[in-house]
């Protein structure tokens, strides 16, 4: 029996019943940008970078089930411009100084900005005051770069069984906190061996003493663009 298909930018993509647009596209070797989505977790739908246009509506590809015969627009000037605006909003919300950031070259936010040809932050910077937490012997937390994808929250809760991270506050004042009355990472049971320690797509959770072990210019996204590296390596084509 042949699987149902939808059209992604005019090309057919086969999917299984209940599969989300983003999952089906990936399985078919088609890239849709994403930041808060991760193959190990259910869709989150907060970053909105995976926005696609279906029947005139803009929806999150990670959280919208594929439908047979649907026409999905993703790699179009309109949708990419919307993604670029979302990226620009993320850049001005936090304090992202790529040239001085030790995550430069390994950062998905930066790599996506290159991918989507974002050339300026465009908006006024918010310059929030977000002190770093260097209390932990192995790991530094630099909240200035948080994009609230909640991957560390989810990984710590679901994979490490620790719930070291959570979000508090609301709106533009939302922020990441750790599971300690002192508010210091050193007072939690966090360890550099945790799954959550390696999941941050940007430069919030940084292992100490290895920041420049790989020189800038030879890092992950220096070698290949995000839209290639974000794709599964071994999965069959759909």
């Amino acid at each position: 029996m042949s699987r149902p298909t939808f059209l992604l930018d005019g090309q057919p993509v086969a999917f299984d019943d209940g599969q989300m647009i983003l999952d089906a596209a990936r399985a078919a070797g088609r890239y849709i940008p994403h930041l808060c989505w991760h193959p190990d977790f259910p869709p989150h739908g907060s970053c909105k970078l995976c926005v696609v246009k279906v029947a005139g509506r803009h929806v999150s590809a990670c959280a919208t089930p594929a439908r047979a015969g649907a026409e999905v627009e993703s790699d179009t000037p309109e949708i990419n411009a919307e993604r670029r605006t979302l990226l620009q909003l993320l850049f001005v919300e936090g304090n992202h100084f790529c040239p001085a950031c030790e995550k430069s070259g390994n950062c998905q936010l930066q790599a996506m900005a290159y991918d989507l040809e974002m050339t300026t932050p465009r908006f006024r910077h918010f310059y929030p005051d977000r002190p770093v937490d260097a209390s932990h012997p192995e790991v530094l937390l630099d909240f200035n770069r948080c994009i609230y994808c909640e991957l560390c929250v989810r990984a710590s809760r679901e994979q490490d069984g620790k719930s070291v991270f959570a979000l508090t506050g609301r709106g533009i004042h939302k922020h990441l906190v750790v599971n300690a009355e002192s508010g210091r990472l050193a007072d939690t049971d966090f360890s550099a061996a945790d799954k959550a320690a390696d999941i941050c797509p940007v430069g919030v959770i940084l292992k100490k003493r290895v920041g420049f072990a790989v020189p800038i210019g030879e890092r992950t996204y220096d070698r290949a663009p995000l839209h290639e590296l974000a794709m599964p390596k071994t999965e069959g084509k759909g």
């Binding site: 907060s46 909105k48 994009i147 609230y148 609301r170």
Partner: protein, 601 residues
């Protein structure tokens, strides 16, 4: 108050809510009653007692405006900040209170006695300007009442000893129709529905064509049927009494004058879908209604209209509990409401699945507005056909409107659907009207050429707000106020709403300061587009409405604020010296840069 007052309250809190994590928000509200804020050690202790990560408890405590993780005054005074309240003079009232008590907004007094701030619309637009003191509303503020409040605070009189007259809230019902004129005795509607059986009752609901009164207008019978058909034995009925849309207050009046109809409507819904548990999610601003509502529930239990074998029907068991909100407009969105009801941060869920299949704790759940539920009683007593006979083709029945602003008789008006804007304006005694905001901040701004349009789902839908502005008002101020409201109330989950509403508010601030340029209007339109299209829920996608309508219908009000330059930076050079001035205690001319920006207007 001792230093560890919260510790004395902890056991009682845990006992009262059975240590169940889904009652976390209720426990935090209760616990905060001890000291007016939630000290860090209290959060740690509560997390420990519930076996929850502390960070999760902190996450919830930090989400709600009425929960405080830093000390606030023994008297916490919040001025309602809807545009209607501003028009009624709320800012002058706040300034007077601050002057009397030697306070500045947002800061706690040195002696910890009082703190003052703004809050989103408290639902007293017909009798403002209003404030909340420790959660209890005082309306119709004037100089004398502000001075009285200040004196009571200075004397440190407990709230219970304040003159009850201060807290009197009027219903201001100006026009009664089918619902407000109904004289049903408790149980009458239930008896009628029970008499025709479950299927018969659902058939009447279908025939009534009743649609949700919360704004979205989903057909109630379809929602009930979907919940009833959903797999899962434990079904839930939720009454959405989180009436947070700026300018609405009709649910407050309904809950105050005909709570029986609301509870009976919930019971009718339970009968239809087979639910055993019911919740009323009551916005924190309305907590003064709580004792009377609890008393009504108790009476209905005693009368046999709640509890086991309701109306003598074996197996029809249903009861209702009331949960309080804590200052979060987004919880009016039904999936955010369910999250909040489960004791979590009020973040809207991804849909599908919808609440009718996966609602409260994953159970099939119907969420209905207060007014929708009350109307079900009319359908049960008079039949679906009679209900459908009034209103318009696509909007059966009547609609309660909360009328406020520039008119002679603000209050609640019940009109059949199809009433024109002009007819409502005439009824409320509005003159020289230049605009009406229908449906609240998330609704639509109507200009005079549209006053022939009708209140109906197919024309001008509304959750009930009807704010009137006369020619003395500046429609830029209205849009500015609403945009700031959305920025304050954004849950912060998705990028477009979290950053976009804040950016939009900042840009309108810039215009308000007279520093806008045509480039800003282009920026505003682009932000509007991203908000509308990419937001996770209705809050973000509605946030640009006031600005879009404003730019389209009242553009001169925006353009008047532009400098005659193509671009001007938002960066305020003189403003950057503010801190230095503060530190040096200087505010003379020499400590300021010469102003180059043109003043507004």
């Amino acid at each position: 108050m001792t230093r560890l007052a919260w510790a004395d309250t902890m056991d009682e809190t845990l006992q009262r809510y059975g240590r169940r994590p889904e009652y976390l928000l209720q426990m935090l509200i209760h616990l905060q009653g001890a000291e007016n804020w939630l000290p860090p050690a209290a959060l740690t202790a509560l997390a420990g007692a519930l076996g929850l990560p502390r960070a999760r408890v902190e996450g919830v405590a930090g989400f709600y405006s009425f929960l405080h993780t830093r000390p606030v005054g023994q008297y916490r005074v919040l001025f309602s900040d809807n545009i209607i309240d501003r028009m009624a003079g709320s800012q002058a009232m706040m300034a007077r209170l601050c002057r009397n008590l030697w306070l500045s907004p947002g800061q706690c007094s040195e002696d910890g006695l009082a703190s003052v701030d703004f809050t989103s619309c408290t639902g007293l637009g017909d009798q403002g300007p209003p404030l909340l003191v420790n959660g209890y509303a005082i309306g119709r503020l004037d100089d004398a009442r502000i001075d009285a409040v200040c004196e009571l605070i200075r004397q440190r009189r407990p709230l219970a000893e304040w003159p009850p007259g201060l807290f009197h809230v009027d219903d201001n019902i100006r026009r009664r129709d089918a619902l407000l004129a109904a004289q049903l005795r408790p149980g009458q509607a239930l008896q009628a529905a029970l008499a025709i059986g479950r299927a018969g009752w659902m058939a009447q609901m279908t025939a009534s064509r009743l649609r949700g009164r919360g704004g979205a207008g989903f057909t109630t019978a379809v929602k009930w049927q979907a919940c009833r058909d959903a797999p899962g034995a434990e079904k839930v009925v939720v009454c959405n009494a989180d009436e947070g849309e700026p300018g609405t207050f009709k649910d407050r009046v309904l809950l105050n004058t005909c709570a029986d109809l609301v509870f009976e409507g919930m019971t009718l819904a339970a009968w239809a879908v087979g639910a055993q548990r019911g919740f009323v999610y009551l916005r924190g601003e309305y907590r003064s209604l709580l004792p009377a509502l609890e008393a009504t529930l108790a009476r209905r239990r005693a009368e046999g209209w709640l509890g086991r074998a309701i109306g003598g029907v074996a197996g029809f068991d249903f009861d209702i509990e009331i949960h309080l909100g804590a200052g979060a407009y987004v919880c009016g969105e039904e999936t955010a409401l369910l999250e909040s009801l489960e004791g979590k941060r009020g973040t809207p869920r991804i849909r599908p699945p919808f609440p009718v299949t996966h609602g409260y704790l994953g159970r099939p759940t119907v969420v209905n507005n207060v007014e929708t539920l009350a109307k079900c009683c009319l359908i049960a007593v008079h039949g679906g056909a009679a209900f459908a006979a009034t209103g318009t083709a696509q909007s059966a029945g009547t609609k309660l409107l909360s009328v406020s602003g520039d008119c002679a008789r603000p209050g609640v008006y019940e009109f059949p659907f199809g009433v024109t804007i002009g007819q409502v304006l005439e009824a409320c005694g509005a003159q020289d009207t230049i605009a009406v905001q229908v449906g609240g901040a998330a609704g639509i701004t109507l200009a005079p050429y549209e006053f022939g349009r009708r209140v109906a789902f197919e024309d001008v839908p509304t959750a009930g707000a009807f704010m009137v502005f006369d020619s003395s008002r500046d429609m830029f101020d209205v849009a500015h106020n609403f945009v700031r409201f959305f920025a304050h109330e954004s849950c912060g989950f998705c990028t477009p709403c979290r950053v976009g509403t804040a950016m939009l508010a900042d840009t309108l601030d810039k215009l308000a300061e007279g520093k806008g340029s045509p480039a800003d209007l282009i920026e505003i339109e682009d932000l509007d587009r991203v908000l509308k299209q990419a937001s996770h829920c209705g809050l973000g996608s509605a946030a640009p409405n006031p600005v879009l309508d404003g730019l389209q219908k009242f553009r001169p009000a925006f353009e008047r604020r532009l400098m005659h330059a193509d671009f001007s930076p938002a960066f305020d050079l003189d403003g950057a010296l503010r801190r230095a001035r503060q530190m040096t205690g200087r505010d003379d001319a020499g400590a300021h840069l010469p102003q180059q920006a043109e003043p507004p207007r």
